[in-house]
């Protein structure tokens, strides 16, 4: 083993870390930041009004005047047929279980002759795409990976899978990406996509629910050695 990581090795290691981390990061969103700031401003105004000895009605009026949220149309709420958060969480756990993600023990898998799982994630399908996950493994000599996707609930989703340079900040879906449709159900069969991504390339996946699945289904995804 060398005494010092080379510049290239260090960059590759951090690129791997970044790619693996992005698998798990779910940005709360700029809209959530806006709500937080507005809530704080509202609280600040109400507190200031109370401190000045205004009656409650007066402070409410002040708060209403400074809160642009009040005049804005309400944020779209889930469709009436959308499931509750608790139900979606239950579907999410079921999807994870369908891929065997309840507990991932790669040492045990190795002893059983099963391929190493590099990364995974799962969650309710709430709208838009579910983010891009990029991952690779320093132990995969063949560079061939299998992505498994399952959807529990109703509707369908699209799983886009491709290999690309992990350093790239922008991750547009390339024209040659595999695009498979995954049907949701109570006991769905996982869909598998095989992709070749020899280092330093990473395997990228993007989960895009169809409108019929939003708020009514959950997905799970794993990337493993072949």
């Amino acid at each position: 083993m060398p005494e010092e990581l080379t510049e290239e090795q260090t960059r590759a290691a951090f690129a791997d870390l970044r790619a693996a981390d992005l698998t798990f990061i779910r940005p709360p969103g700029s809209a959530e930041a806006l709500r937080t700031v507005r809530r704080r401003r509202r609280a600040g105004v109400v507190a200031a009004a109370a401190g000045a000895g205004l009656v409650l009605a007066g402070s409410a009026t002040v708060a209403a005047r400074v809160d642009p949220d009040r005049a804005a149309p309400a944020a779209p709420s889930p469709a009436p047929s959308a499931l509750s958060d608790a139900e979606l969480d239950r579907l999410s756990e079921a999807a994870a279980a369908a891929l065997g993600l309840t507990t991932v023990d790669n040492k045990k898998r190795r002893s059983q002759g099963l391929p190493r799982i590099v990364s995974s994630n799962h969650g309710p399908l709430r709208g838009g795409d579910q983010g891009v996950a990029g991952v690779s493994s320093g132990t995969n000599q063949t560079g061939v990976y299998v992505v498994e996707v399952v959807c529990v609930g109703t509707g369908t989703l699209h799983a886009l899978v491709w290999a690309a340079d992990g350093i790239s900040r922008d991750r547009p879906v390339p024209p040659g990406a595999a695009d498979v449709q995954v049907s949701c159900g109570d006991r769905p069969t996982p869909v598998e996509v095989t992709v070749s991504a020899p280092r330093p390339k990473l395997v990228f996946t993007r989960i895009e629910p169809d409108p019929s699945a939003i708020g009514r289904a959950a997905y799970a995804r794993l990337t493993r050695h072949q």
Partner: protein, 162 residues
Amino acid sequence: MTDFDDFYAAHYADLTVQVHAYFGDRHEAQDVVQEAFCRALARWRQVSGYDDPAAWVRRVAWNLATSRWRRLRTVRAFHSRQRGEPVVDGPGPEHLALVEALATLPAAQRRAMVLRYLADLPVAEIADRERVPEGTVRSWLHRGRVTLAARLGPAYTEVPHA
């Protein structure tokens, strides 16, 4: 507000990765980065005029994380004394060897490694931020790479496939 939306979308994930790599807790990292963006939004007219608004958010997130980490350390020490037993974190959902290896580095080296290899800052900028000569930063990076080589083992030091 569109420019804030774009700014958020462009930087949230990367800043979270950087804070996670430095502090070792992804959930805390997500929280403090979101809080830093909230503070940026609250004074967006001012922050958006800076040369590098992302650097401002990173600094705020970093400071918040430092404060939280100190507070958490105090709370854990208190609980440990009260219960007479160590408080041990449960295993995370995944194992990131590099984050664990980074945690063994002294703070200055860890900061330099994260800023150099995740934030992609030039050595001169790190030196300016840390208020040390560039040679000191190069030394930190060298020592950081030596420690990581020892900690990470052959998986990270193998030659990448063509």
